[in-house]
């Protein structure tokens, strides 16, 4: 994949982050091209969530630079709102708003952030809900849906903002096994649409199917970054091998 700066969706240079005395990101350098799909994996506590949460400034970094579509994120996050317009996020716990219907969940930010008219916001919400095959549940409340359905709504909600980049933080980890597939299928079709995507997941089938690169993190560092084939068949680092044997035998 040839990369010049105008094609970069995300650029992280020398990113360091601490929680108190604990350094959780250590010298992270990462370029993500437009349309690239990255799967991020690594042991618990290695800093995967922290890394992707820095991209839309849910977390502050202490050192380094992060640019999104050519706009550098200022240290204090003064332009975070600007960057968040281009970046959608899906969480492990769905985080749907319980007091709003599925449709209202998908309309709120369109109305308040994009100032879209109610009719237009509803139109777009319904289009994306259809895309994730859940339009018939539009009038229900989150608590009335299964976990897999809720996560698909969360994806639709993010898509309603026309993000150029989607961040997923273990989107299937809180799901019962029988619901994992419906969410992964949704994500695969999204990837086919050409959106830029960073996905924290241990679903290695998904990684093989859509990832251009798989990145392995351990203790706050990027240890290995490779195409899925090479990553799975021939990892170059001992820690990656140990990690893979753990999750693949699991």
């Amino acid at each position: 994949m040839s990369v010049n700066s105008s094609q970069k969706a995300i650029e992280m240079v020398g990113v360091n982050k601490w929680y108190g005395p604990l350094q959780v990101l250590k010298g992270i350098d990462l370029d993500v091209s437009r349309g690239e799909h990255i799967v991020l994996c690594g042991p618990s506590g290695s800093g995967k969530s922290t890394l992707i949460r820095c991209i839309n400034h849910l977390e502050e970094i202490q050192q380094g630079r992060i640019s999104v579509n050519g706009t550098e994120l200022s240290q204090k996050g003064t332009n975070a709102d600007h960057i968040r317009r281009d970046v959608g996020m899906v969480f492990q716990q769905f985080n749907l708003f319980p007091h709003l219907t599925v449709l209202e969940n998908c309309m709120l930010a369109q109305r308040r952030v994009r100032k879209t008219s109610a009719a237009e916001a509803k139109d777009k919400a319904m289009r994306h809900l259809e895309r994730v095959h859940i339009a018939e549940q539009a009038q229900k409340y989150p608590a009335q849906l299964s976990g897999g359905q809720q996560q698909r709504v969360a994806i639709a909600r993010a898509l309603c903002m026309d993000p150029k980049i989607m961040l997923f933080d273990e989107p299937t980890s809180a799901l019962d096994p029988e619901m994992v597939k419906e969410v992964l299928d949704t994500m695969i079709s999204l990837a086919d649409g050409g959106i830029t995507m960073i996905c924290v997941t241990h679903e290695m089938g998904f990684a093989r199917a859509v990832a251009h690169r798989v990145i392995f993190m351990d203790r706050g560092e990027i240890i290995e970054s490779a195409k899925p084939d090479a990553f799975f068949s021939n990892p170059s680092h001992e820690r990656t091998r140990a990690f893979l044997s753990q999750i693949l035998n699991h």
């Binding site: 839309n56 849910l58 975070a80 709102d81 968040r84 317009r85 970046v87 959608g88 996020m89 969480f91 716990q93 985080n95 749907l96 708003f97 319980p98 007091h99 709003l100 709120l108 930010a109 308040r112 952030v113 409340y141 608590a143 009335q144 909600r157 993010a158 903002m161």
Partner: protein
Amino acid sequence: MNYSFDFTPVLAAWPMLLEGILGTLRMSSLSMVFGLTLGIVFMMMRMSRQPVLRTIAIGYIELIRNTPILVQVFFVFFGMPAIGLRLSGEQAAILAMTLNCGAYAAEIVRGGVQSIRPGQIEAGRALGLHTADIYRFIVFRPAIRAVYPALCSQFILMMLNSSLVSSVSAEELTYFAQTLDSQTFRSFEIYLTLGVIYLVLSQFFSAALSMIGRVYFSYPTK
């Protein structure tokens, strides 16, 4: 004991009692609405990152919650004219009860806001919503729902406490009962009736508030 009970003078004074009931309803309802609004403002100050705002809010909340409500009522009615604020009995009553209710509501609502999972706020931020919108559209309703029973008890307590404002001639139920007592000397009958009316009023408030709650918070949860 040769006191002969006679409720007829009490019952005959029903227009006066009705006016008292309306006065109590009016003052309590207004103080609830204003008090909740004020409480939300002070809750936000209390949770703000600005030390000055936080200190003001804490000072106010502690002051109100650690002084008798009667003293607060007296201060507003008798004390404020010294700084140029001369209020009628009813205005002073509403102001004092609003201030009182605001402090308690602030603490109750704060508990509700703290019960909201951080993921809710993060989801709002990730969608690009501003802090004010996050509070208004995402946090507020589930937060109030979480503490609604506590808020309702506080409101009912305030309605009952409103009997104290008779002492600054605010024309509510207890004020009229006292007037009637001084005219008829039927203290036993009057205050027994008064107690029953307050009992009915709190039942009424309780039912009305829980109906509002059912309408406003009707969304299902797991």
